[in-house]
């Protein structure tokens, strides 16, 4: 925590970069981190909490499951993402998150695992991806 805060010392508008680093290091932003960040940036805990809760990327509770982000925006809907999502359901051991657009809108349906993107998914390919995670 101290190391992350030191890395961003003196930077303008440092809160989001700090939160990204904390989330990357710990997988979530715990209450203790919010206290430390508030202290370092001379903000109230409420202000930091407000920012953490505003953005979809940050979470305050740990969830060790691997994440699959499935795009369900319009372009993927037009290529069948809704049927894929319905068929996938809530597989055990994997957190399936909805993402609105990965910018691969001509080759959907698409998904992202970590920073790896996958296009032209069908039910079989999606199930195989989930299998690699579970």
């Amino acid at each position: 925590m101290a190391e992350i805060l030191a890395r961003h010392a003196g930077r303008e508008g440092a809160l989001l970069p700090i939160l990204h680093d904390v989330q990357a290091a710990l997988g979530h932003v715990p209450e203790a981190a919010i206290r430390a960040i508030a202290q370092a940036l001379n903000l109230s805990r409420a202000e930091v909490h407000g920012v953490v809760s505003f953005y979809h990327d940050f979470r305050t509770d740990p969830d060790p499951r691997p994440v699959l982000k499935l795009c369900r925006a319009e372009a993927c809907q037009a290529r069948g993402s809704e049927a894929l999502a319905a068929g996938l359901g809530d597989p055990a051991g994997v957190r399936v998150e909805t993402v609105y657009c990965l910018g691969l809108c001509s080759v959907g349906p698409n998904a992202m695992i970590g920073e790896v993107v996958h296009a032209r998914l069908d039910a079989g390919r999606l199930a195989a991806l989930v299998e690699t995670l579970a």
């Binding site: 303008e12 508008g13 440092a14 809160l15 989001l16 970069p17 939160l19 990204h20 940036l41 407000g50 920012v51 505003f54 953005y55 979809h56 990327d57 940050f58 982000k69 925006a73 319009e74 372009a75 993927c76 809907q77 037009a78 290529r79 993402v99 609105y100 657009c101 990965l102 910018g103 691969l104 809108c105 001509s106 080759v107 959907g108 698409n110 992202m112 920073e115 790896v116 993107v117 996958h118 296009a119 032209r120």
Partner: protein
């Protein structure tokens, strides 16, 4: 170069990677080929596309490589540059697409890179501003505001500290042109930002990229490092969003950059006068800034000569959704919607008839084939109750449920609303409820609820509401959102809803 070991060019942008380009590149390398990882041509249905001596092959899998090298591949598509999809385009922003390696400074300089910045430095700020104004360049983020006027406002604003902010929070479904610039030609964007900085007197620039674009973030950060000596004294930093669609709105983006909740600010004050940290700030979309180097290098008149009506220059149109030949099509304004969908896009990928085309992202209207005569420019689409937005086209075939699409527009607004203004925050949820009621299978006229029955609710209907009354209520709600919201999220969500209702009323039970 010998025939045994040709140079193979394969894209390394996120879309090519998602389609399996790395495995194809590795298969070519294993056969002794030299592989150059270049930007994408934008012919997405052919990705992964390999180019050998100008001949294209795609879409390839690793198993196709031997046949390609033996000259027997059925996936040969002929000379790439002469492909009709590319030959019909006029590429200014994407002139290097598929040609250069994104992070190769020599490739960039050899293809006219930095000429615009050198010209701007030779001309000085006043003449640079005059050139951008004279070119007629309008903001490509959606609003279409003249870039020259914005820059002039910032240049004239008092204060020693000014900022250039590049809005790279490309959240609209059906759009990927910003991503392709950032991943395919990042130096072009940096050059455009440096020209803007020189013109308005800014020392620091920020690129705000959405977190869903990790490849773009990596390429931009590498490019900033490589180009720093060229850009100096102007400095650029890449900042990453955190999954909030509304941060594509410029004032919300500025709050996010400052480390706050991405809530929209009321305007005025304009960001040009009181933007990032209260300082005069140019906020421009990626494509706007990426258009600038060409304008400086070739002159405002040459740019002004391309286009249609008050929309000058080229627009990188993104063909997406259920379309056979999806990809990036940069062309002067004025091409018709029908040409884009049928002649260039080849109709639907599913082979079924086109039912609707959503133009301009999640806040854009759904257009039926009856609108296919519309020329692609800001004013024509506005006159047809639509917008071109960031120029993404999402094609739907006849299996689309338009009430469900209208409901999604409201649900998306509810999920992404920043919560600052009431019409957007609450109106979107009421809209979802209304559209659910309209879609219920066993729908009966709805009796007034507890609030509607209160004596002080004089304007609320006391009789049970049938379909017609519910639709009138939906139209009323859309009116409130359109004119009462602070920004385009709540203000434009009515576009997809009302257009679906207007063109496909039978699906709403009307």
């Amino acid at each position: 170069m010998t025939a045994a070991a040709p140079i193979v060019r394969i894209s390394d942008d996120a879309l090519a990677l998602a389609c399996g380009a790395d495995a194809v590149a590795a298969a070519f390398a294993a056969q002794g080929c030299t592989v150059h990882r270049v930007s994408s041509r934008g012919m997405h249905w052919l990705e992964p596309l390999a180019e050998i001596d100008g001949q294209g092959f795609g879409p390839l899998g690793p198993d196709d490589v031997s046949a390609v090298l033996a000259g027997t591949s059925p996936k040969a598509v002929g000379p790439v540059a002469a492909h009709p999809f590319l030959a019909r385009q006029q590429r200014l922003i994407f002139a290097r697409a598929g040609i250069t390696r994104p992070l190769d400074l020599d490739d960039y300089a050899a293809t006219g890179g930095w000429a615009g910045l050198e010209q701007a430095r030779a001309l000085g700020p006043a003449a640079t501003l005059a050139a951008v104004t004279a070119s007629g360049l309008r903001g490509r983020g959606g609003a279409g505001f003249p870039a020259g006027i914005k820059w002039q406002t910032v240049a004239d604003a008092p204060g020693a500290t000014k900022y250039i902010v590049c809005n790279a929070d490309e959240g609209d479904s059906g759009t990927f042109a910003d991503r392709m610039v950032m991943e395919g030609d990042p130096f072009l964007l940096l050059e455009g930002m440096a020209i803007a900085a020189q013109a308005v007197g800014a020392g620091q620039g920020y690129i705000y990229v959405r977190s869903e674009y990790p490849h773009a973030i990596r390429k931009l950060r590498a490019a900033v490092e490589l180009a720093a000596p060229r850009l100096a004294p102007f400095a650029v930093e890449v900042r990453v969003g955190a999954g909030a669609y509304v941060c594509g709105e410029e004032t919300s983006l500025l709050n996010s950059l400052e480390g706050k909740r991405g809530e929209v600010r009321a305007k005025p004050p304009l960001p040009a006068l009181a933007g990032l940290f209260g300082r005069p700030t140019v906020v421009n979309n990626v494509l706007t800034l990426a258009s600038v180097p060409w304008i400086l290098a070739h002159g405002a008149e040459a740019y002004q000569a391309i286009g249609f009506g008050r929309s000058r220059g080229t627009m990188p149109i993104q063909l997406a959704g259920n379309i056979r030949h999806g990809g990036l099509f940069e062309v002067g304004f004025g091409i018709t919607l029908g040409e884009l969908v049928h002649d260039i896009g080849g109709g639907t990928a599913s082979g079924r008839p086109v039912k609707a085309v959503q133009v301009g992202g999640p806040l854009g209207a759904y257009h039926p084939p009856a609108d296919f005569h519309l020329p692609f420019d800001y004013e024509s689409f506005a006159a047809a109750d639509g917008l071109i937005g960031h120029a993404g086209l999402v094609v739907f075939d006849d299996s689309a449920d338009m009430r469900a699409q209208a409901r999604f527009a409201m649900a998306f607004c509810a999920a992404e609303s920043c919560g600052k203004c009431t019409p957007c925050r609450i109106g979107s949820t009421r809209g979802v409820e209304l559209l659910d009621r309209l879609g219920a299978a066993d729908r009966q006229p709805r009796a007034p609820d507890a609030v509607e029955a209160l004596p002080q609710m004089r304007n609320a209907a006391k009789a049970p509401r049938g379909s017609a009354a519910e639709i009138a209520l939906l139209e009323d709600l859309c009116e409130t959102m359109k004119f009462g919201s602070l920004c385009a999220l709540g203000g434009f969500t009515p576009y997809p809803v009302l257009s679906a209702l207007k063109h496909w009323p039978e699906e709403f039970g009307a």
